[in-house]
Structures are given as structure tokens and as C-alpha cells.
Subunit: 415 residues, 2 copies
């Protein structure tokens, strides 16, 4: 019997009524002749509410205890869903991450999966049960302690379990109907994509698209699990995420993403000598600040400016690191600009079409939008622009590459 893994996020199981609707969908998949494993997140805002209680008790809650606390959220959601499926006359049993053999390292709060031992899951499926599995959680291999996988970890649980039990597909149910060429709230003519490659989805996720957590896309790519992102409220087909097929004529760009959660950090007049960049970025990495774009201009009079983008949430730590670095490397000073947006164009086809970047810049220039930083990968071009220009920039680039036209993108002019 084919195995399907379905993952439902917190919104999809946010109320008793929605849990009933999820149960209906699960039973339908079962009656269609599949073995079904359902991965659930905690209901609605449960995780935030538990976190709030912990923060009220302690400024820095003990990480082991915090993981013990947060895992109660998925436990509630999964057992309620188990009750709902059983009530429909379809046998179901729920399992915690620990029971399902999701073995991790010991990093509480952001544990990495090191092994899956799905013995009980196989037994349950062979016994004719639907399996309901708690997302986000695991058991540390060396200490048998309860761990959590970090925000968005339920996606990772679903992908990893799908890979471990050889599921044909991992369906990610969410509150949107799929992956779009851009955010439909900014550009109403955004078009749902039928298929995106793993690489494109990774670039879109890094560029600020919130549909899927990067770690789970990376895991899917490495293990070859096909993902199907779709809505838990509607029946229509969503977006498939899978290995890129042979490039088809004309299919070049998959989407435009806007990230407004970053800030631009600049170290001014950094001495231009070997080892300085290494010193800077090691200090940043040591503080677990995840930076994205890095730009260094040519040197004038033995010094250069060094800029990068970092999440605004990390700014308090960025300040600390920068103050130390200015003294250590002998730079003039540093500035932080949090009034920026990062606009990214992603598409597997662009690597063979050097004109794409020029065309993107031209469309922005035509609107009088200034580009402050640029970085590129083989399938992504990102520009830092003023925050106020963000949504207008999305619409002009989306239109220039004709992403709203149905079917595949047209051939790109190479001007």
C-alpha cells in the first residue's frame, strides 16, 4: 500500500472544528487506499502561550525544561486528532517524537535529527492504523532527553519521517494554496506555481518566502522526498517541490520575493589587509547571527567599506559584535540601516540567461528605484532597496517578467 505523509500546521488544527475537518481529510486519504502518517503542529498559538508562561517565570528558562514544556503542545493536538479519526471508525494512534524514534543531538531548542528509528510507526501501519505524529520534537540519542527542532520544525519532522519510511509524497498543508510567483497580498496578479525545484524553493525561502522552512526543503532535496504544498481549507492541487526536470524552453523565472525583516550593517573604512574579512565574519558566526548578503567594494587609500544584511531580530547582538570589531580591526565606525527591503528574483532557468539581471535592474531604474546592494547566486538575484519602495518594486519586476501570465514564463529579452 502506498504511504502518504500529511503535515498540518498550527492554523490547520487551531480549533476543535478544524481538527474535525483535518480528520475528514485524513480518513479520505486512508479510504483512497493509502497508509497515512499525519504530522501535526501545536494548536494555534499554544506554543506562544506556553512560552509566555515560561518567560513570566524565568528570564532565561532552562532549555531542557522548556523543551519538555513546549512538546506538550503537539501532544494535545495529536491526541485530539487521534480521537477525531477514531470517532470516524478509522483506527488511529498518536505517537510522540520520542515514541516514533526521531533521534536528535542534544541541542535543546534547535536540535538536529541524527537518525530515525521508525519501528513503532511501521508496526502501527502494518496493524492497519493511521499514524498521528507529533511534529517539532525528538529524543536525544546520547541522553534520552526530550528535544525540539526549532521554529518550523514540524515540516522537518514530516520530511524526515517521509524519507525514513519511504513515503511517495509528503503533503504540506497550510493556509495558502501553494507557492506563488510572489506574495498575492502585494501583487494580486501573482500566479500559483505548479512545480518548483528544490533549489528554487531554497532560494525563495532564503529570500523571505515563508511557506516552508529552509531546513526541511534541504532535507527533502538530500533525500529525494517530493513535497506537495497545498491548502488545508480547499481541495485544489497545490505546488509540487521536486528535483528540477530538464530545463524547458522559456521556463526561466519562478518568483519574486520581498524580505522586510532584515537590516543593512556597514563597517566603514576597514583596513584592507589579509585576514580582516575572516576576523569579521568569524566574530559574527560565533554569536550565531545569520547574515545573508555580503558586499565589499574596491579599496581606496588602503581601506574599504564592508556591508552585509542580518535579521532585525538579531540587531541587539549585532551592536555588541560591531563595537568589539571596530576596535579590534581598526575600522572607522559602523552604521546600521533598518529601513531597507531585500528584493529577490529566483529561477532555475536564469543561470543560462545573463540578461536577466540587467533586465531586473532596468525595470527598477525605470521606476526610479535605487539599488544599494546586489548579490547573486546561479539562480537568484537579490537587491537591497529602500523599504518604502519594496511593494512597488515587486509589482514592476513581477510584471516585467510576465509572471502573471498563465502557463510558463515567456522568453526573456536579453537586453
Amino acid at each position: 500500500m502506498p504511504i502518504i505523509v500529511q503535515k498540518y500546521g498550527g492554523t490547520s488544527v487551531g480549533t476543535v472544528e478544524r481538527i474535525q475537518a483535518v480528520a475528514d481529510r485524513v480518513v479520505r486519504a486512508r479510504e483512497d487506499g493509502n497508509d497515512v502518517v499525519v504530522v501535526v503542529s501545536a494548536m494555534g498559538h499554544t506554543t506562544d502561550e506556553l512560552l509566555a508562561m515560561a518567560s513570566e517565570i524565568a528570564v532565561a528558562p532552562d532549555p531542557r525544561e522548556l523543551d519538555m514544556l513546549l512538546t506538550a503542545g503537539e501532544r494535545i493536538a495529536m491526541s485530539l486528532l487521534g480521537i477525531a479519526i477514531n470517532a470516524r471508525g478509522c483506527r488511529a494512534a498518536s505517537y510522540t517524537g520520542s515514541q516514533a524514534g526521531i533521534m536528535t543531538d542534544t541541542q535543546h531548542g534547535s536540535a538536529r535529527i541524527v537518525e530515525i528509528r521508525p519501528k513503532r510507526i511501521f508496526e502501527a501501519l502494518e496493524g492497519g492504523s493511521v499514524v498521528v505524529l507529533a511534529g517539532f520534537q525528538g529524543l536525544s540519542l546520547s541522553q534520552y532527553e526530550i528535544t525540539t527542532l526549532g521554529r518550523g520544525g514540524s515540516d522537518l519532522t514530516a520530511v524526515a519521517m517521509a524519507s525514513a519510511i519511504g513515503a511517495g509524497v509528503c503533503e504540506i498543508y497550510t493556509d495558502v494554496t501553494g507557492v506563488y510567483t510572489t506574495d498575492p497580498r502585494i501583487e494580486p496578479r501573482a500566479r500559483k506555481l505548479d512545480v518548483v525545484s528544490y533549489d528554487e524553493m531554497l532560494e525563495l525561502a532564503a529570500a523571505g518566502a515563508n511557506v516552508l522552512q529552509s531546513r526541511s526543503v534541504e532535507y527533502a532535496r538530500r533525500t529525494g522526498v517530493r513535497l506537495h504544498v497545498r491548502s488545508s481549507f480547499e481541495d485544489e492541487v497545490g505546488t509540487w517541490i521536486q528535483e528540477a526536470e530538464e530545463p524547458m524552453e522559456g521556463v526561466l523565472i519562478s518568483g519574486v520575493a520581498l524580505d522586510t525583516d532584515e537590516a543593512k550593517v556597514t563597517l566603514e573604512r576597514v583596513p584592507d589587509r589579509p585576514g580582516v574579512a575572516a576576523t569579521v565574519f568569524k566574530a559574527i558566526a560565533d554569536d550565531a547571527i545569520s547574515i545573508d548578503m555580503i558586499v565589499q567594494n574596491v579599496s581606496h587609500a588602503g581601506a574599504t567599506d564592508l556591508s552585509f544584511t542580518a535579521p532585525r531580530a538579531d540587531l541587539p547582538r549585532v551592536h555588541g559584535v560591531m563595537e568589539r570589531l571596530v576596535k579590534e580591526i581598526g575600522a572607522d565606525s559602523y552604521t546600521i540601516d533598518d529601513d531597507i527591503a531585500k528584493l529577490s528574483l529566483v529561477g532555475a532557468g536564469m543561470k543560462n540567461h545573463p540578461g536577466v539581471a540587467a533586465d531586473m535592474f532596468d525595470s527598477l531604474a525605470g521606476e526610479g528605484i535605487n539599488i544599494e546592494m546586489i548579490s547573486t547566486s546561479p539562480i537568484r538575484i537579490s537587491c537591497v532597496i529602500r523599504a518604502a519602495d519594496g511593494e512597488r518594486a515587486v509589482r514592476v519586476v513581477h510584471g516585467r517578467f510576465s509572471l502573471d501570465e498563465s502557463g510558463s514564463s515567456p522568453e526573456i529579452p536579453t537586453g
Copy 2:
């Protein structure tokens, strides 16, 4: 280092502020030089709220899933307490019933403890940690499924763990300051008892005193664990429950209990032939109705009336059983009277003083209170009376046996 087990009920950990207060008390016990194991119930009404969601989803929720759901309640309470204790600079780690090796049978919702394997608890104590332990829950020995021990099961967890790890005392923290000669809300002159024997406490629990669950008292008696019932809001010494000492002169009666949750059921004109009573009570037991007093009068013209008391909550099932039984055994009919109260006098000393019963009946007669049923054990006398007479009856009997006078009860007249 001596080991203390402390158990806190749902009211004691009902809010974040109360959890902070419990943490203070735990840290104090630790600083006094004890190894401490803290057993907690779910916060406030959490269990009822989880049950309500389950009932909204299904009329008869799957028992395995329901246990999975309910155990989330203790998980939240224990990890928050673990966070609070750690925040005070005192190392603490929380453990689920499963992690603590509380092994049970497979009866979901009312599992029995069959074995305790406290390996991780000993390791944690030896490592210098305070142990926070989830009450109410365990793991089935044969199937490794999560189970719960039934209402009040956290008391049982505390007593069983105290016995398994050789704790000198098991402190039961609650919202009253100890065990009283009767309910102080009925008789303000009720006196707190310093010591009660296991047997007396069992009779008091069976007679309707709600301080402690009978199963945990029974477990404590069998394993010799001393219990100390006390308030989590005040510091005063509470009531010790332990093996009866040699009877002291004059210490006869420990308390008066009133149970208003029962109804009287009477099968009328039951044929007086061998095996009828067995048929009746087997049918009742098969429906898991727990009955208390049983009275059968002498036979007249080959038939007799058979009465017993049963919890009002069980009345829907009682009706079903009685209707079947009337036909099966050829009785005339049955009646149910739910306007009664059960008044009980409990005291280890009364077994050597036959006058106690007569004195109790006399005091009730003096107030014009009619006695409808009587049953006795060596240390308890129970009477069924009209519900409306209940509180007056408590006060008159409490006064007659001078339970409100400080110190031990006086010699009982044998009149």
C-alpha cells in the same frame, strides 16, 4: 541524605504565581539538606478543559488517545515548576511517568501500578538535582503505551514513588491544613487531627472525606509510607497518617464524615432463595457501579427488601441494571431515593467500646433525626438519614463525642 517526596495538587500549581511559591518551598526543603522529589498534578482546571475538548470531538473518546491527551496537563505543570526551581539557582529536572519508570497495567483511564523502575530518578538525585515528577501517569509494562491512574492518581504516584525510593515521608500539599474531625464548613468547631491511622483514614475516605484518594492511603498502608497532609499556603504542621500506635486511653473517635453524593436503591419483595443476592450484586459489579452500604431485612412470606447505597453519578447505569434484575429474579419493583445523606463516625478506638453506636443513635434520636439504614465496620458506624438533616446531624454527633475539645477525645459513656 534523607529523601522527601512532596505532592502538590492542581490548586497549589494553579497559576504562575502559585508555581513560584511552590518553587520557593521546594528550594527550602532542598536547602534544609534533603533530596527532594516533587510530584505535581495538572494546573487548575487543565484536565477538565482537555476532557471538554475531547468530548466535543467524540462522544466516547478513544481511551488510549485520551490518556495521551490528559498527560499533557502534568507535563506543562512539571516543566514550568522545573523552570522556576532552576531559576532559583537550584538544579532541577522534570520527568514524565514513563521516564520515571512508573509501570502499569494496560487499563487506560484507571491503570494500576504494577512496578516502579526509578533508575533515572536515582541518577538525577545522585547528580544533585531536585526531581519534578508528573503525577497521575505511567507506562504500560506489556505495550509501552501511556496510561493514566484515574482521578486523584497524583496522590498514588507520590506514595508509590516514596515507597520505591525509600523516602522517609510523603508530604501531601493541599488547600486545607490537614484532616479534621469533621468538615469545618459544617461545624466551625471542628478540630485538626495531629495523627490518624491508615485504617481510620481509609474509613474517612470511604465515608466521603475528600482529602485523600483511598487507593493512595491503601498503598501507603501496605508499604508503610508515612503521609503528612498539609497546606501549600501556610507553614503549620498538618496531619500525619501512619500505622496506628498502641491505643491510648480515651482516644476513641477520630471524626465525623457526611457524604451527600449517594442515593439509596431498594429492590422490593425479592424472593428469598439461595443465590439471589449473588445474582444482584454480580450484575451491579459487572456494570462497575461501586456500592457501599448493603442492608437486607428479615424475610416475610418468602420475600424481603434489599437496599444499598450507590453514587448518584452512577444512577443512569443503576436504572438499567435494576430494570433487568426485577424481571430476572422476580422482584416486585425497585425504588431510588436520592434525597439522603450518609453520616459516618470513624475511630480506631471504637472497636473495644460497644456503647459508641448506641450513643450515636441516641444523640440523633434526641434531635428527632430518623435513621433509615445502618452499617458498621470495626472502626466505622454509618447511618443513612434524610439529606435535609445532614449538617445538623454532623454537629450533634460531633458535639456528643466532644470532638471539638482540644487534645484527645474523652472517655465515651457506654450508655
